[in-house]
């Protein structure tokens, strides 16, 4: 009982500091998400292109990025790019590094979505005389989203958790804020338990949201 009341008093003391880390975690996750979705769409569209060179480039990029640990990619962006004249502050480097690293997983999600669309439906739309743009927006996209959404949701949850890797390049997100607290207070159990609970508080609602969306799409 004493342990528990100790935990609550620690929580009371540490939560304000951890909350500022949590805000940074959300911000870096969101920024990386936007980058990964945009880049992922580029890789996926290149991957289903009629032009072979684009398909090859997309494949090479995906396999290369996927084959390098995310932490190494972040180090590269944060420590190596400055030597090449590109100086990014820690937050931007974290968002870009995570965004690029995750773009290849998003690309695979999107590709699975696109390739699930029955080509005969595209023919039906063509035979109605719909333009390529209309076919993309009204037939391919809505059908691809249903297939891509569940893995997309999982990818977002993974990205949220992997944003903790940005702590290694000094981004003051939740994990780093916690590490600093733990080192200075020696209260490892309280601090890391709080961090774990805070990650869960973000990822569980996200998981729930995705499963709700899935249901909504599946009903049609």
């Amino acid at each position: 009982m004493g342990g528990l009341s100790q935990f609550f008093s620690d929580a009371n003391q540490f939560l304000p500091i951890l909350m500022s880390g949590l805000v940074v975690t959300l911000a870096v996750t969101l920024a990386a998400l936007v980058i990964s979705v945009l880049l992922g769409l580029v890789w996926a569209l290149m991957g289903i292109s009629k032009i072979k060179a684009l398909r090859v480039i997309s494949r090479v990029v995906i396999n290369t990025v996927r084959g390098i640990p995310i932490i190494v990619q972040l180090f590269y962006v944060y420590f190596v790019l400055p030597e090449l004249g590109v100086q990014l502050d820690a937050f931007v480097a974290g968002a870009v590094g995570l965004g690029v690293a995750y773009s290849v997983y998003q690309a695979e999600n999107f590709r699975a979505g696109f390739s699930s669309v029955d080509p005969m439906l595209i023919e039906a739309a063509q035979s109605l005389g719909m333009s390529e743009r209309k076919i993309m927006l009204r037939v391919i996209m809505p059908l691809a989203v249903r297939v891509a959404l569940p893995p997309f949701g999982n990818t977002v949850v993974m990205l949220l958790k992997d944003s903790s890797i940005a702590s290694t390049i000094t981004v003051a997100e939740l994990t780093r804020a916690g590490q600093l607290l733990a080192v200075s207070s020696f209260k490892n159990m309280s601090v890391y338990t709080l961090i774990a609970l805070l990650y869960l508080a973000m990822s569980l609602p996200l998981t729930y949201l995705v499963s709700r969306l899935e249901l909504r799409f599946a009903r049609k």
Binding site: M120, L121, A124, G129, S131
Partner: protein, 241 residues
């Protein structure tokens, strides 16, 4: 209305259409029959630009089919598919209204109200809000026909419209097609329904090996074929045992 001149097409080494020439007059109903792989469907797909011909000319309503004229030709010639190809994420009504709104740019309210009328015409006024997955094959194909009609086409191409249906569901689709024929719609139908062809078609083309082997008035070709290959095919189809 539709004219083909020396049309040829190969898939790799296989020549699926050899020097195909024929004309279809306005209001005419023409059935293409023949064994699988004889090139019947490929003809329809070439006319609709879903397949690119290797040689020859296709003319629709006086306009030569080119990449440039393709959209205009697709607006005149609608297509009904063997596997219906309805958009699974849209209701029956939305499927029918999709072309008029999003290809022809017609006002949505008007297109939807016309779609409702068309679905009533194919006997599906109670299924407007149903998604394709909730409809039987016959119902889906009737939505497919309504979707083609919504384009106000001058001709409709039917690619084996009853081949994917339960035997019990074939009749309801043929009935809709018969009524279209009676109203003077120009129709080109790839089919294995010999009895339907005999009753409804003005003309029958029998194809084999990428060529038109025999063509003529439906009754003549189907009951007194002049070419041995046609006779052999009809005999096998009509007396499978």
């Amino acid at each position: 209305m539709i004219s083909l001149k020396n049309v040829s097409k190969s898939f790799g080494d296989v020549q699926v259409l050899r020097d195909i020439s024929f004309e279809i007059a306005r209001g005419e109903v023409v059935c293409l029959i023949g064994p699988s792989g004889s090139g019947k469907s490929t003809i329809l797909r070439c006319v609709n630009g879903l397949e690119r011909r290797d040689g020859g000319q296709i003319t629709v309503d006086g306009v030569a089919l080119t990449d440039k004229s393709l959209p205009a030709i697709r607006a005149k010639v609608a297509m009904v598919f063997q596997r219906f190809n309805l958009f699974p994420h849209r209701t029956a009504l939305e499927n029918v209204a999709e072309g008029p709104i999003h290809a022809l740019g017609r006002p949505a309210a008007e297109a939807r109200s016309e779609a409702r009328d068309l679905l009533a015409r194919v006997g599906l006024s109670d299924k407007c809000d149903a998604y394709p997955a909730k409809l039987s094959g016959g119902q889906q194909q009737r939505v497919g026909i309504a979707r083609a009609l919504a384009m106000k086409p001058q001709a409709i191409l039917f690619d084996e419209p009853t081949s994917a249906l339960d035997p019990e569901r074939v009749g309801e689709v043929l009935k809709v097609m018969r009524s279209l024929a009676n109203e003077g719609m120009t129709m080109v139908i790839v089919t294995h329904e010999i009895a339907f062809a005999r009753e409804v078609a003005d003309r029958v083309l029998f194809m084999d090996g990428g060529r038109i082997v025999e063509s003529g008035p439906a009754r003549q070709v189907l009951t007194q074929p002049k070419v041995e290959r046609t006779r052999e095919f009809l005999d096998r189809v009509l007396n499978p045992l």
